[in-house]
């Protein structure tokens, strides 16, 4: 579940082929390099792998967390624990949609005193991350929580920012960012397709402010 999902009527998935031409922003190699760089950044910020737990937000966040963990263990030579945190039951829009399907939550170990890195594919409104923070708080008390996203597309509606960003992609609010990963969609690519009609953003701005860690 990505932030982008929260803004979209149920039934459309980010992997759905767009009817209008979609612009390729990152190809498979570029996604690979972005992941490798994020893996290094996370290790550097944490001064090693000690106490780290990567927690992906289903569906594509979990696949990304697995990739980051693999890249990090290649560097550090230790296994990095990876978990999945479904945030459906913590969403703030449950009563605006038909009943949503709940995904799988699985944590390899207690998050108490761990440094939890939340991993998701797209950071958009920030509402998914808000829900994830609430969910995490009910599971334990991490020493710190960081946020790693493959794409930051701007248009935040909550005071939330990512610690590690694979790629900042300035977008219009009505555009659709589709992250496809081989584990889920059989192909690695990030595309932007034009939206149907203008969607007003919370702050009226169409383009996001530059965020640290831009490509």
């Amino acid at each position: 579940m990505s932030d982008a999902d929260q803004r979209r009527p149920r039934g459309e998935s980010p992997a759905e082929p767009a009817t209008r031409p979609a612009r390729l922003v990152l190809d498979s190699d570029q996604i690979q390099r972005a992941c490798a760089r994020m893996a290094h950044q996370i290790l550097e910020a944490n001064r090693g792998a000690a106490g780290l737990v990567l927690v992906g937000i289903p569906t594509r966040g979990v696949a990304l967390a697995d990739r980051l963990a693999r890249a990090m263990s290649e560097v550090e030579g230790v296994d990095i624990p990876v978990g999945a945190l479904d945030i459906t039951l913590y969403r703030d829009d449950l009563r605006r949609h038909p009943t949503r399907t709940v995904g799988r939550t699985h944590l390899p170990l207690s998050v108490d005193n761990a440094v939890v890195v939340l991993v998701d594919d797209v950071l958009y409104s920030g509402r998914t991350v808000r829900a994830a923070l609430d969910a995490l708080g009910d599971l334990g008390r991490p020493r710190a929580v960081r946020l790693a996203v493959l794409v930051d597309r701007g248009h935040r509606e909550l005071p939330i920012r990512a610690d590690h960003v694979g790629k900042n992609i300035p977008t219009r609010a009505n555009e659709r960012v589709s992250v496809r990963l081989a584990e889920v969609d059989g192909v690695n690519e990030i595309t932007i397709s034009p939206g149907d009609d203008p969607v007003p953003t919370a702050d009226g701005l169409e383009l996001p402010d530059p965020v640290d860690g831009a490509l």
Binding site: D86, T88, L89, Y90, L94, R95, R96, H97, P98, T99, R100, T101, V102, G103, R104, T105, D134, G137, D138, L139, G140
Partner: protein
Amino acid sequence: MRHLLSAGDLSLAETTGILDLAEQMSLVQARPVKKLPALRGRTVVNLFFEDSTRTRSSFEIAGKWLSADVINISAKGSSVSKGESLRDTVLTVAAMGVDALVIRHHASGAPWQVTQWIDAQVLNAGDGTHEHPTQALLDAFTLRRHFRRTAPGQIDFAGRTVAVVGDVTHSRVARSNVLLLQTLGARVVLVAPPTLMPSGVDSWPVETSHDLDAVLPEVDAVMMLRVQRERMSGGYFPTPREYTVGYGLTRTRLGLLRPDAAICHPGPMNRGLEISADAADSGRSRILDQVAAGVSVRMAVLYQLLGGEDDTPAGGSADARPRTEGRREAPAPDPRGQR
């Protein structure tokens, strides 16, 4: 999903969805904070016209762990004992603005009747000798876990044989289980003395037998039913002792069961009558697993019914007004399948 009145209303996909969701909900029991915010602001009323321990308390825990406000009303100690009718009681409760009504009633069909009066979601927690759908769901949940543990990688219910033994005539648990196990693809054998086999059972999708010893060796699971003395006017069997000899899961019969077969009982047990202490406390007994599953399954059901947008027009207290005659004759199309 709108209302849960009968296990027969659930499709295979809906049933599997509820069981999968219940697996996720069961993780909450192991968490430090046993609370999910999904039903915050929802109100669930448990309206129980019959005694209950596990069903009422597990519905209450399920609602509370999902952050709903749960109110319990039992016939004893309420205006029902002053002679208030079911309709008036239900309309009174609905007028307070409840989102779901969990109802147990001694009259078969009472929950369905209630859906004709109010707009809140109605969950059948046992109606007379008719149905008890959440019990069937928690039995299916318990059995699915058991099958997955004893035979990993196999299909959950197809090709499985489940024996339902005892007082089938008076058992809503048996009726709901027959319907749900049929949906799931299991083969059901009803075993009962001729006096406790319901009339019309030939039209049910089951096999029947009066010989427990012949059935036990082939089953993957055996569900012992409680002998419901409160529903019996007498004459169904000569003596309790004779019932036990013919249809009780005694220590001797335990030896006929396969080592990997599961023993279930919906509770409360009459130890020494339909089930021996040896069977109830054996390693093959899944009876306490059933109780634990009750909370998870009821959380899943409450979320399915209340977790999304209201499918009736918003309007607060307007929901509580009795429906007009015209609307009752032409009910709104069933929104099932739109979820």
